[in-house]
């Protein structure tokens, strides 16, 4: 109801109040805008600001296999050996090494002058403790550990691995580029059980982690390790000289993809590690931005079967699914952007050492008619395929929809169930029937460096119950892997990797459904990003 009596004009009062309000508002905005100019003077340091691919929660690269933690490891720690861009193993902290004539004793000498960030020298005892802890958690490490009789440390710079039987992949294991990477830590830290998270991030790597500036979920700060002695060779992959040309690196944790891109375009960040697929079109046309493919071997999408439950406990049904799935639709739907995808029917990623065209019946091109015939031959009884779909994972979330369509075209009955990624990873560990909370198939993505050979490729773990989700048991595949581990020459290794792949296709361990790349978006004043099997940040210059 309108008030009826006014002691003075309401229009006047309203006008004066509005003016006052407008003045307050303007003052507040100006104060805010001007505030930016009150920033305290900073010393002249070069700071590289990076938006990593995901939030980093765990700082122990042995305890978890998360890629972001692996990348953190490369900042802080150094490795004994490393993998160059061509996939060859090169010495890193090791100066020289020799193998006994019976191939059982491997003796290594560390480079001179290696120091941890606290100024203490890196000794052979630190190395042995680190290898032991890594081997307690890593699949490749476990293989090495199984054939290791003992470790010896004759002096501070020399250590030996004495084997019970020859193992042809000692250097490959120690120079493994991706999770878990055998990083070298001080003995007092490395003596922590592999099942317990370490409390201190101290290494001998090119950067020093600033624990006092670490704010989980907000920012991770590193400074240049001025004591670091880089190798003389040019950087290549995770190998070569790790020269640092910036004083400080800050990882900015930003979860929203749009905000990530805005921060990069606005100059608040220098590198966006992994833009969303749909952002490449915008980024390509921006004159301040360059796209740098720092992980040229790329990534691979796969579909994994559950070997314990119907219908995929039947090899013929799995083979029908293998024939039903075609890579083109997966890549077009999930990635879309031209130039980022690659058709590759090899299980070992195309462009890597053991890539092979020997894929048996698998072509990577969908053939619903053939799949239908195979399914009939297999005696498929219409058991529903419970296909899990992660709704909150933008990298792989669309893949199951394509799989559902292609499998249904081949005659499968598919029950696609949506859930968040955390639920999916918990559910895939369940061995129950799909109707009782289990599953039939799920899809995921691997960085190429994780699936370079039959030992590290989780899908080729055919040890049954103790193996990878899906729990395949295949003595023949395991035997090929043993031979691969004992092989002495590259030719022999290549032949055996090929045999392992053929066997994997024969038993349909999983289906590779295409390769893709996700180049980093980098501001043009930044140069020197090193292409590698992991995201590494040495050698970078910022003008």
């Amino acid at each position: 109801m309108q008030p009826q009596f006014f002691s003075h004009s309401p229009a006047q009062s309203a006008g004066s109040l509005s003016r006052r309000l407008a003045r307050w508002g303007a003052a507040a905005l100006l104060a805010g805008a001007a505030a930016g100019t009150f920033a305290p003077a900073m010393a002249q340091t070069t700071t590289l600001k990076i938006i990593p691919s995901s939030n980093i929660t765990v700082l122990d690269p042995i305890w978890t296999t998360a890629y972001v933690t692996r990348n953190f490891g490369y900042m802080v720690y150094d490795t004994l050996f490393a993998t160059d861009l061509e996939g060859r193993i090169k010495p890193q902290m090791v100066d020289k090494w020799k193998v006994s004539p019976d191939n059982k004793t491997w003796t290594f000498t560390l480079r001179e002058g290696l120091e941890f960030h606290d100024g203490k020298p890196v000794t052979s005892e630190d190395v042995v403790a680190s290898i032991k802890r890594w081997a307690s958690r890593d699949t490749f490490g476990a293989q090495l550990s199984k054939v290791t009789e003992r470790y010896e440390t004759p002096d501070a710079r020399t250590f030996s691995i004495v084997l019970k039987e020859p193992f042809g992949l000692v250097l490959e294991a120690l120079g493994k580029p991706s999770s878990n990477v055998p990083f070298i830590m001080p003995k007092r830290v490395a003596d922590t059980s592999g099942d317990t998270q370490i409390k201190e991030s101290i290494g001998s790597g090119p950067y020093v982690f600033k624990a006092d500036e670490f704010r989980p979920g907000e920012r991770v700060v590193f400074t240049k390790n001025t004591r670091y002695k880089p190798r003389a060779e040019a950087p290549s992959g995770t190998a070569g000289g790790k020269n640092v040309y910036v004083d400080r690196v800050e990882w900015l944790i930003i979860r929203d993809a749009q905000t990530q891109m805005n921060a990069l375009l606005n100059g608040e960040a220098d590198i966006l590690e992994q833009p969303a697929f749909e952002q490449y079109a915008t980024l390509r046309t921006n004159p301040d931005i360059q796209l740098v493919d720092a992980q040229p071997a790329g990534n691979q999408f796969i579909l994994r079967f559950n070997f314990l439950q119907p219908p995929f406990n039947n090899e013929k049904v799995r083979r029908a699914a293998l024939v039903a799935l075609g890579q083109e639709a997966f890549l077009r739907t999930q990635v879309g952007t031209p130039g980022l995808t690659r058709y590759c029917k090899s299980m070992f990623p195309c462009g890597t050492l053991f890539e092979s065209e020997q894929t048996g019946d698998y072509t990577g091109v969908a053939n619903p008619q053939k799949a239908k015939a195979l399914l009939q031959e297999a005696g498929y009884k219409g058991e529903p395929v419970v296909l899990m779909r992660p709704t909150d994972n933008p990298t792989i979330g669309k893949l199951p929809m394509v799989a559902k369509q292609q499998l249904e075209q081949a005659g499968f009955k598919v029950d696609m169930q949506s859930m968040d990624w955390s639920t999916l990873v918990a559910r895939r560990a369940k061995k129950d029937a799909p109707s009782a909370g289990g599953w039939s198939a799920f899809m995921t993505s691997w960085t190429a460096s994780d699936i370079l050979n039959p030992i590290t490729m989780a899908m080729m773990n055919a040890t049954g119950d103790k193996g990878w989700f899906g729990w395949q048991t295949d003595a023949k595949l395991e035997e090929i892997k043993v031979q691969f581990a004992q092989a002495k020459t590259d030719t022999e290794k290549k032949k055996l990797a090929q045999a392992a792949q053929l066997r994997a296709f024969e038993t349909a361990t999983h289906v590779p459904v295409g390769q893709y790349n996700q180049p980093a978006a980098v501001r043009k004043n930044v140069s020197g990003l090193v292409p590698a099997g992991a995201q590494v940040y040495w050698n970078i210059k910022k003008q």
Binding site: S7, G36, D195, P216, L252, T423, V425
Partner: protein
């Protein structure tokens, strides 16, 4: 007054106990497994079993609750599974951004909404009233993230007045702290201005119809005095209630705004804990939110005593 406070504080104990039990059970019954998140893609079942043992997840549920409950009674909310830090420390780290965001938003909202709502009530049916109501509807209808992106585009990317994202601690200097807060506070304030101005308008317009207003005017008191001392004071109870609820909501974390502006507040901590199934953090923050809600409600109730002498408990 003291009896009232004592009674209210005692009444919070069962509330917090129920919340503690409920959140513990809900968190454990939700599908998902922190061990699977920690183990990553290449972990095997054996690896996951080992991690579960290490995290204490293989103990009976009642035992896990007893351990957690005992810790809470001693002021220890537990240890994050992922971050290797005490939950209290993590909450402490997130308090400053959350308090800054909530405080800034409320300050802006109250400063704008109270005069706007009052003016709208005073000129009910006029152009100002219509404009305020139109803004109120729009402010509520447009999603916060849309407002955020529009403001970022205009004020950060085009005009370069403010940064796109991030949070600067007050220890970095008051200037940078304020500069970083303007956009997110403005974004959130739009919604709260819409809400508060509407409530203020309704409350003030009702007060303006009361007899004592007519008496005041008849005594020749200026219109500004009538508004300030009679109408607003009498309209204060519903307005303060809404401000209190808003404060509680803001302190509970504003996830969308925090995400759009990359502000490391309590909302983001909660979302991360949910995604990772970081049980101790999730239990800790929810319990913390419950305490905040109870405290804010208590403050609102106490404020009634001062605002309206007719109210007696």
């Amino acid at each position: 007054m003291l009896t009232f406070l004592g009674k209210r504080l005692l009444a919070t104990i069962p509330v917090l106990l129920v919340v503690a039990i409920a959140i513990f059970m809900i968190v454990r019954l939700t599908p998902g497994d922190p061990a699977a998140v920690i183990g990553g893609n290449s972990a095997t079942n054996e690896d996951l079993d080992r991690i579960r043992v290490q995290l204490g997840l293989t103990r009976p549920l009642w035992e896990q609750f007893a351990i957690w409950g005992k810790g809470v009674l001693h002021g220890d909310l537990g240890f994050s599974f992922f971050l290797n830090k005490p939950v209290l420390e993590l909450i402490g780290q997130r308090m400053e951004p959350t308090l800054s965001l909530a405080g800034g938003t409320l300050l802006l909202a109250v400063a704008i909404a109270l005069p706007l709502g009052t003016l709208a009530a005073w000129r009910m049916g006029g152009w100002l009233d219509k404009a305020v109501m139109a803004f109120s509807v729009a402010g509520f209808s447009v999603p916060v993230f849309v407002v955020g992106y529009v403001l970022i585009y205009l004020l950060a990317m085009k005009l370069q007045w403010f940064p796109v994202q991030g949070y600067r601690r007050i220890s970095d200097g008051v200037g940078p702290w304020l500069n970083q807060l303007v956009l997110p506070c403005l974004t959130l304030a739009i919604t709260y201005v819409a809400l508060l101005s509407r409530v203020t308008r309704a409350a003030v317009s009702e007060a303006l119809t009361e007899d004592f207003i007519r008496t005041a005017r008849a005594k020749g008191i200026t219109e500004l005095e009538v508004l300030k001392h009679h109408a607003l004071r009498n309209a204060a109870v519903p307005v303060v209630t809404v401000i209190g609820v808003s404060a509680a909501l803001l302190l509970g974390g504003v996830v969308v705004t925090e995400t759009v502006f990359a502000i490391p507040g309590l909302g983001q901590l909660t979302v991360d804990a949910v995604l990772n199934r970081d049980f101790p953090v999730l239990q800790g923050v929810v319990l913390f939110f419950a305490v905040v809600y109870v405290a804010v409600n208590l403050l609102v109730d106490v404020s009634y005593l001062f605002l309206d002498p007719r109210i007696r408990y």
